[in-house]
Structure formats: C-alpha cells, structure tokens
C-alpha cells in the first residue's frame, strides 16, 4: 500500500482514503471511492492527475498523500 503521491503512472486500486469528512465527501461526490480502480495519468511531484473511467481528476499533492493505493496488474 503506497500513497498516491509516490507512485509512477499506471493502474491502481484505492485501498484507503485517510482524511476528514469534507475531503471524503468531495472525493466520493466526484465518484472516487475506496475499492475503485484508477489510472495515474500524471504522477507527483506536483498535482496528481488520475483517470477514473472517462473522468480526469486532479488532486493536490497534500491530498494525494492521504490516498493509499495498491498496484493492479
């Protein structure tokens, strides 16, 4: 399990989201939930851009460090 802020581009499963209410809700309202399969399009440093299905979402580095992912093959 690695924070989203330290992984190279590729496919991952979201294992854990550690954050406050606000953060969790904003992510889940955009359709990003625990267990989802995502693709890292643009890795850190700097903001991380992920793809979930057809959607592209940018996440600030600080926030990305609180999302833990597991690589998918």
């Amino acid at each position: 399990m690695m924070p989203l802020s330290s992984v190279p581009p590729g496919k991952y499963r979201i294992a854990e989201i550690a954050g406050g209410r606000n953060f969790l809700m904003r992510l889940s309202n955009m359709g990003v939930l625990r267990g989802d399969i995502i693709t890292v399009i643009k890795p850190a440093p700097g903001p991380v851009v992920i793809a979930k299905g057809q959607t592209r979402i940018g996440i600030g580095t600080g926030m990305a460090s609180r999302i833990y992912v597991v690589p998918q093959t």
Partner: protein, 666 residues
Amino acid sequence: MSSRKPDIVVALAGNPNSGKTTIFNGLTGSKQHVGNWPGVTVEKKEGFFQFKGKKIQVVDLPGTYSLSSYTIDEKIARDYLIHEKPDIVVIIADASNLERHLLLFLQIRELGLPVIVVLNMMDVAESRGMKIRVHCLETALKVPVIPTIGNKGIGIDILKEKIVEGVGEQKVKLPYYLGEGFLNILKSIMELLQEEDIDYPPLFFGMKLLEEDPEFLHKVNELSSREKVNCLLEKARSLARMDLGTCITERRFGYLHGIVKECISSIAALHDRIYLSDRIDRILTNRFLGIPLFLLFMFLTFQIVFKFGAPLSELLSTGFDMLGVRFSILLQREGVSPMVISFIRDGLIGGVGSIVSFLPNIFLLFFIIAFFEDTGYMARASFVMDEIMHKMGLHGKSFIPMVLGFGCNVPAILATRTLDTHKDRILTILVNPLISCSARLPIYILFAGIFFPENQGLVIFSLYTLGILLAFIMGNIFKRLFFKGEETHLIMELPPYHMPVIKNILRISWHRSYLFLKKAGTVIFASVIVVWILSSLPPGVEYGSANSYLGRIGQFIAPIFKPAGFGFYQAAVALLAGVMAKEQVVSTLGALFGINLKTALSSVFNPVSAYAFMVMSLIYIPCVATIAAIKQEAGWKWALFTTTYTLILGWLMAVIIYQVGRILFL
C-alpha cells in the same frame, strides 16, 4: 416579448462539465438574462422560450456534483430547488460518465421534484464505443430520458416537447439500495421528522443526515426529537463500521453502477485509453514545464491586455478630453457660469471618461480569461500554482486573481468568483490590493525618475516585490486570525481540452465587463464629484489649492505623515485624491506644484522620503473602485477592514523606511 408570467418554470441541474450551458443556450437562444443569486455573487442565468403557445422560463443552476453543503454552488442549487419548487427539473448528465452524473439525480428525486434526464454528449459516448439503451434507463430510473448532442442542437426540440407535455406524477421511491438495516433507521428518522416543522421533505433531510452533511447535522439541534434522531444516527454509524457518509455514498454508487451496467455496453476496453487531452496534460502540468509555460501564458496575456488595450484606452481618454473642451467652449458661448462648466468638464465628463477609458483593457482581460476557461486550461493552471499559493495561505485558484491584480485590482477581485469556498475568496480579496496595479506605476516612474535616475528599474521592481512579499505575510496572518483550522482541498475535475466557442467567450466577457462598468462606474462617478466639490469650494478658490476644502483637509492630516518624511499638505492631498483613483496622485501633485513639478518635488522630498512615499502609495487604502468591488463581493465589513489595515500597514511601512533610511543614508 410579452411580460406575462411563465406557464412553466424549468430548472437545469447537472455536474460541472456536463454540457449544461450548451443545453441552456439551445433552449433559450439569445433570450437570456444574467444576474446574481440572491445574497451571493454567483452568476444566475435565466432565459425564456416559447413552445406551442406556452411561455417557459429556464433557470440554470450552478454546476454541482451533489446537493450537499460543501460549496456555495451546492447550497444555491439546493435552496433554489427546495424553496422555489420549479415545475420540472431537467438533469443534464454526460452520457459517457453516467454513473457519476446520476448521483445528483438520486438526490433531486429525494426532494420529490418532477425530473427529466438529458443524456448529453451522446456523440462522444458513441465515439468511445459505448452503446446506451435509453429505454432501459427510462425503465430503471422511472423518469423520461432524452438523448442530446447539445453543441449541435440535436435533441433540443424533443426536450422542449417533453417539457411542455409534462412528466406527470413521479412517485418517490425509498432508497431500497441502502439495505434493510439503514432503510429501517431512515424510516424511523423520517417518522420523527414528519412531526417536526422543517423546510425539507423528510426523505431528503433523513438522507442528508445519513450522509453526515454538517449543515443538516447542525439543524438536528433545533428539533424537539433531537435526542431520538441522534440516537438513530449513532445506530447507523455503528452499522456502517466505517465513515457513515462515505458508506451511504458507496451504496448509492453501487446502485447506479448496477443500472449503468445493465443499460450500457461498451465495445472497447475504454479504461486504459490515453487520449490526446491526457498527452497535453502531461506537458502542461509537468513538474518542470508547468510553471514556466503558465508564466509564459500570463506574460502573453499581459502583453495583449496592455499593448493592444493601451492605444484604445488612450484614444478613448483623448476623446473624452476633447469632448470636455468642446463642451466648455460651447457652454462659455452660451454664458454658463465657469463653476457649472468646470463641473461638467472636470466632474462629469472627466469622471465618466476615467472609467470608460479602462474598458478596453478590462474587456481584453476578461476575454482571455474566458478563453482559458473555455479551452479547459484554467483548471490546469490552478493545479500548477497550487503549491506556491498554499505558502501564501491561499488556494491554487487564487493565482489568477493575484496575477490580474497587476493590471487592475477591480477585475481581480471580481475574478475571485471562481473560488469555491468563502474562506479562499475572502483571503484572496483581502491581500489583492497589495498587488501593485498598473495605475500605481506612474507614481513610481515619476519619483524613481527624479530621485533614483541610476536605478530606476531596480527601485520599481523592489516595490512590486515588496507588494508580493506583504501579500504572502498578510495572507498567512489573516488565515491564522480569521480562518483557523479551515483547510481546503484541491480536487478538481479536469475536463478534456476542447476548441473554444468564440460566441460563448464573447458573451461571458461582455457580461463581466458590463458588471464592471455598472458597479464600479457608479461609485467612481459619485466620488469624482465629491472630490470636485471639495476642490472647488468655497467659491472663488483656485481648484485644489491650499484654501479649498480639499486643501484644508490636507493641511489637517499632513502632520500624520511627518514621521514618514512627507508631512506637507500637497502630499496628503495627493494621497487623498489617490483614493479616488491611484493615477490621481500624480495628476494632483502636478496641479498643486504647477509646471515645474520635478524641481518642486526635489525640493520637498529627499530620496528616502520619496521611497517612503512610493511605499505608502503602494500599500495605503485601495482606490474607491476596488473598495466598491470588495464591498460588492465580500460585504461592507471586509471592505472597511481592507481599507483600515492597508492604511495602517502603509503608514507603518513608510515610517519604518523613512526612520531607518534616514539613519543609514542621510
């Protein structure tokens, strides 16, 4: 158009980037009106269309992902739907992103409002290999579903037809997808809420509680059955065995996932596709290239705004000058008193002219911003700058207003509208006046030219840097003082890049320029008249001289500036006039000292007091147009606060510089 009341009121709801604007334009054509939502400065778009003899009003709600209370936009959309109860809510969903776009659908249905779902951008979905069975969706969602391609106008007539025809009774189902445990808790909560005096349907209120929406959790305290409700919520929390709100949203998405899976089949394995847009993103948001590219775009923006805007500006102001001269000659011939002529020439025509001559720059600026917004680059720019802005206590999106501030603080403050949270907006507004606007440049040029001829560029650069530095410091101080512990997260959808639509860009930039003219104009205009009156009274005095009211006020306040090295009335009057518009500092000094301004200034100032005066001009009280913009965007309280803190900060800085500089250099 007839002004009769509309027969049907339709609200358009949908996620950002669902193509809502294209549907709105498709329905209403040019019959649109842009205003503000009550109490807030989020743009409210309304329009009308006629169909089969009916008059239909269309209200475009802000783009939101849900009806929770995390952003201003969400609250506006929710309050409108609850209090205004539109006849039909049209929910616009991106056909290729259906799962996520339907979350809003579930929440709006919980309000019990009649709904039509529009599947927009069908062409994109099809080009990405998706096959959507519309009837299947209609059966699953139990509401009419209409496929459209908004930007080509396809499906709009069918939508109009459906709106006029009406959707009939739509029964609200309980959310069975939550599972028995949660459903029973929800039912118990709803029973309790039925007895209460609340503005919301019990189902909606109950679901918001299960989602742990802070605003609704707070409302529980006002209920007579608050203990029972809280007890039930506690039960739900232990049932969730994780964050309750997230658990509920997960179940919602689970349900939607099932529907989408049943009704949409994709041919290609889409999830691994990397599109052209992604490749562009890898360059534009790249660690090393992102910031330089952004700065390049900003530099180009400035070049366009000031290079192309300046000649037009000058043309307009010369035009107004000539108009003033013509008028005064004409009036003189008619034997009108010099007092009235001066009022018309200096006050009315000069005042209006000084506002209107800004218009070309302002319009160009808004045009370029709208261009960046429309292409999708603006969202990326916020990301690129996020880390730097965080050090200022601000947000990635604050960067655009800060950059705009170098041009003019008024549009910069209006541009804070793009920020999502109140806290980020207020902070950005508060420090914005410290960014040195172009109107302050003439002051620096004049003084640096006289007192620092060798290092003119360096001195001017130091002033800009000082402004930025102070913005950093004050941003952090204000954040700690007023918004302790509030942290905002940069999470943003990045819509695919696309070719901008010039018509839309023109529409937006014109509207924003018009707001600038109207709001700033009235205040500048009024204050120009006040200055004119103070400068020309009592009757018979020379305009703006020591004996005029303005001069007397200047003499009264001048001693305050003695510790800063410029305690003479001309400086005080110039600074006073500068509050009207910063350009007036130079023109007022010119009027007070006469033709040999440079010689006169070098006799009353020395290099240290000149620098202190420039620092004062940089920091002290923003111009009235800026104060008016702050009042409009943030309210009187913050406008007064900004005026006060900049005055104190400016005076302190000027005094420190003069006192320290005097010891070191004089």
